[in-house]
């Protein structure tokens, strides 16, 4: 009786340990959730026969990707899953296996750090490329590009390759570590209907600060047609306000500073252009609804009841598809952010793809990177994943023609941002500057004091870091 009881206890324990071990083990060789929906037996496990026999890669993707077909909750349209790309890639590369690891945008930096440290994937979607390249964990791509006759960097939209260049751990010259995968841009959006109702001329394609200010003033008050309270302008006073301010400085031929590596960076946060830029924002706050410092007041934007004329520092993800989903595709207009005399300005954004330094199948990983930037996958990204493509051939697609009035200025914005990207965009200086913009917007400090404090704190931080 006793031994039976003991056996039972031991058996339970063994089962528990087995469950823990199975749960914690890697997925190598086993079918898992990421390869669900794949009915091709040849691509399971060690791969089938062919040139790439036995080789497999893991690809990490961030954002609204799904493995299987799904229905878009906003538009109600059916979208295809990544399985179609898997089939296409594996049929182009017989014997190869590709698996996906999809993660949400929330906390992507630390998740990518954990993944790359433990060698989880071969190819990464990596907006924080500058930090990872400096750690020496991503592969430089110049040799792959040079040795591959099929591949041409000219296929990418202008500025996109330059924008993602980064410094390696020991180099002092910017190099290509990533290929542009998802495009992104910053621009100014406006509601044409409100402009019509107020009898104000639409924003020009490249507006100046004076033009925006004047039109915002004209459209603040009781709408002459509807009688509703309208506001001329809105911008986020928190989170992204540092970038809005930097763009205002760029529009006056100023800049954030110089350098790319931490030991070379010099900030110019307290330049006269930054002071006047912040003063301009303080003035514009008068023509905006209350609450912009806490991302409030814009609840009606991109709805039929919109009450805001102009919105600064917007991106295609928040604008294009949501506008069409609300039936506002023709009502919304896009103008460029403030540019300097060299037609440069606005934050460079998006996602490149990179190859892990410790990838065991680098040739296949490179093949995937080419595939990911080919028309097949870029079209998928645009049509199924609600993201911006990074290649010029987008203009030849039917899907582009349907949304051309918003896409054309977006592509224009993608080819004129400030490059290389702001190297401090996810570090302390960004938060220091944001907090000081907030302090000015909430009346805690004057524009001059705020930028001086931001400059002082950012410089001190830099000194402590180096």
């Amino acid at each position: 009786m006793l031994s039976l009881k003991r056996s039972f206890l031991l058996l339970s324990f063994a089962l528990l340990v087995a469950a823990v071990l199975v749960g914690c083990s890697s997925n190598d060789g086993a079918s898992n959730n990421v390869s669900e929906g794949n009915n091709n037996p040849e691509s399971e496990g060690s791969g089938g026969e062919g040139e790439w026999e036995g080789q497999s890669i893991s690809v990490q993707l961030i954002g609204d990707f799904t493995m299987e077909a799904s229905t878009d909750p906003i538009t109600g349209e059916k979208t295809k899953g990544l399985e179609v790309l898997k089939e296409e890639f594996e049929s182009q590369h017989p014997g190869a296996t590709v698996e996906f690891i999809i993660m949400p945008w929330e906390g992507y930096t630390e998740k990518t750090q954990a993944m790359i440290t433990s060698g989880e994937a071969d190819v990464y979607q990596m907006p924080g490329i500058a930090d990872f390249a400096a750690q020496g964990v991503v592969e430089p791509l110049q040799s792959y590009i040079e040795e591959d006759d099929e591949f041409d960097l000219d296929k990418f939209i202008d500025k996109q390759v330059d924008g993602w260049k980064a410094l390696g751990p020991d180099s002092d010259e910017l190099q290509i570590y990533g290929l542009p995968f998802l495009g992104d841009a910053r621009f100014i959006t406006y509601d044409k209907q409100l402009f019509d109702e107020w009898g104000v001329e639409y924003l020009s394609d490249y507006p100046t600060m004076e033009e925006v200010a004047e039109k915002a003033k004209q459209m603040t008050g009781k709408n002459p047609v509807t009688g509703e309270q309208n506001y001329g302008i809105w911008f986020r006073g928190d989170w992204s306000s540092a970038f809005t301010l930097i763009n205002l400085a760029e529009g006056q031929n100023g800049r954030w500073g110089t350098g790319f590596a931490w030991d070379e960076i010099e900030f110019e946060f307290d330049s006269p252009e930054m002071v006047s830029g912040l003063e301009w924002l303080l003035e514009m706050q008068e023509y905006a609804p209350e609450g912009l410092v806490s991302d409030q007041g814009n609840e009606k934007w991109l709805t039929q009841d919109n009450n805001i004329g102009i919105v600064l520092n917007q991106g295609p993800g928040d604008t294009i598809m949501p506008a069409y989903a609300q039936g506002l595709g023709d009502r919304i207009g896009i103008a460029q952010e403030f540019k300097n005399d060299e037609n440069q300005g606005g934050m460079f954004a998006g996602s490149p793809i990179t190859m892990a330094k410790d990838s065991e199948n680098k040739e296949l990983a490179w093949e995937w990177m080419k595939f990911a930037t080919s028309d097949v996958m870029q079209q998928y990204v645009f049509e199924e994943a609600n993201a911006m493509p990074s290649i010029k051939s987008v203009k030849t697609w039917d899907s582009y023609a349907e949304v051309e009035n918003l896409m054309a200025p977006t592509l224009e914005a993608m080819s004129t941002p400030w490059t290389p990207r702001y190297p401090w965009a996810s570090s302390q200086p960004r938060f220091i500057l944001t907090s000081e913009v907030e302090a000015a917007l909430t009346g805690k400090r004057s524009a001059q004091e705020a930028v001086e404090k931001a400059q002082k704190e950012s410089t001190e931080w830099l000194e402590n870091r180096n």
């Binding site: 528990l16 750090q113 020496g136 928190d238 989170w239 209350e290 996810s426 938060f431 870091r465």
Partner: protein, 344 residues
């Protein structure tokens, strides 16, 4: 000889009780060992054959079984608690971006302790924590007393008041952004209807902390009420009966019987409330992001650690700040224990 006799006596008594309670099989083996013991009495040595299970070995085996059951969770604690704590301590002496590390001694601690931003977060954390506790515990106790006094519908009120506590704080924070919306929020609407001045709440550094306090009070009060109610119902009714006979009024009973009997509960709520308050992160992250917008007015110590560690890749600074926060909580809890005279 005296020793041997006592051992014999011990075995005899054990055998008797065991044969009665456990059953024949075990009893027999003990009888056998007893016999062997007697037969060896001549040469004064005690020998127990190997195939015999003694009570001691049985106990040891039983104990091992339970250790084995504890092992998985213990391994989990070692891996996911002890290791990160030790690793974080090591990291606090390094400049680290996750892969590249450089030993820099105590410079991280110096930087954190001389950072005005960090001390601002300490102030914010204590400010929000202090008012949350000072408002919630008395208010919760009053509500608990009222609920305890009603004859019908006690459970209904308990459920209603406890509901906020089971709501996700992240979801609640999102809803509070609408509740405290400058133009469309119900709070400003109510204030305006009463002719009181309205506020922009989370858009103003001077009122944003009060927005967080309001949310924290709303979320925690259900828990305080339930704990207070448990204590209220444990106070002996005899005390109240005696007081009534002595002519004590309802208020006097509440003041001189109820409140003194609640001291243990108040101490418990004070200490757990402070520890939770000092670790505050989720709601301020939802409301103000990692830098506690607007103008770092609601950035707590936890948010400071997150901002430096997970958005800026400064793991050394974040680890040092974590240990400083740990020491602050430790000292403060120690003071709380002394003040509240709570026994550990």
């Amino acid at each position: 000889m005296i020793n041997l006799t006592s051992i014999q006596y011990f075995y005899q008594t054990q055998m008797e009780t065991l044969t009665k309670s456990v059953g024949k099989k075990e009893g027999k083996s003990l009888v056998r060992s007893q016999m062997e013991l007697q037969s060896n009495e001549g040469d004064q040595s005690v020998g127990i054959s190997n195939d015999v299970e003694t009570l001691k070995s049985k106990k040891r085996k039983a104990a091992i079984t339970w250790y084995i059951f504890l092992l998985p969770s213990f391994l989990g604690i070692l891996l996911f608690m002890v290791y990160p704590i030790v690793e974080s301590f090591r990291l606090s002496f390094f400049q680290s971006n996750g892969t590249i590390e450089k030993f820099i001694g105590i410079r991280n601690f110096e930087q954190v302790l001389t950072s005005k931003t960090f001390w601002n977060t300490v102030w914010n954390t204590f400010f929000i924590g202090f008012f949350q506790i000072m408002i919630t515990i008395p208010l919760g106790f009053v509500f608990a007393s009222l609920i305890n006094s009603v004859r019908k519908g006690q459970n209904f009120f308990k459920v209603i008041y406890f509901l906020p506590n089971v709501t996700s704080i992240v979801a609640a924070a999102m809803i509070f952004q609408f509740v405290l919306h400058p133009e469309m929020g119900v709070v400003n609407y109510a204030l305006d209807s009463l002719g009181l001045p309205t506020s922009t709440w989370f858009s103003d550094p001077s009122t944003s902390k009060w927005g967080v306090i309001l949310l924290a009070v709303w979320h925690w009060i259900g828990f305080v009420i339930i704990i207070c109610l448990a204590n209220l119902q444990a106070i002996s009714p005899e005390l109240y009966e005696a007081a009534k006979i002595d002519g004590a009024s309802g208020i006097q009973q509440w003041l001189f019987i109820t409140i003194p009997n609640m001291s243990g509960t108040f101490a418990f709520l004070l200490i757990t409330g402070w520890i939770g308050g000092l670790q505050r992160f989720n709601e301020v992250y939802v409301l103000g992001g990692p830098n506690g917008s607007p103008a770092r007015s609601i950035q707590t110590m936890g948010a400071f650690i997150y901002e430096r560690g997970f958005t800026g890749f400064e793991f050394g600074i974040a680890s040092a700040a974590t240990y400083i926060m740990f020491v602050i909580i430790l000292i403060f809890t120690f003071i709380n224990l002394k003040v509240s005279k709570m026994k550990l």
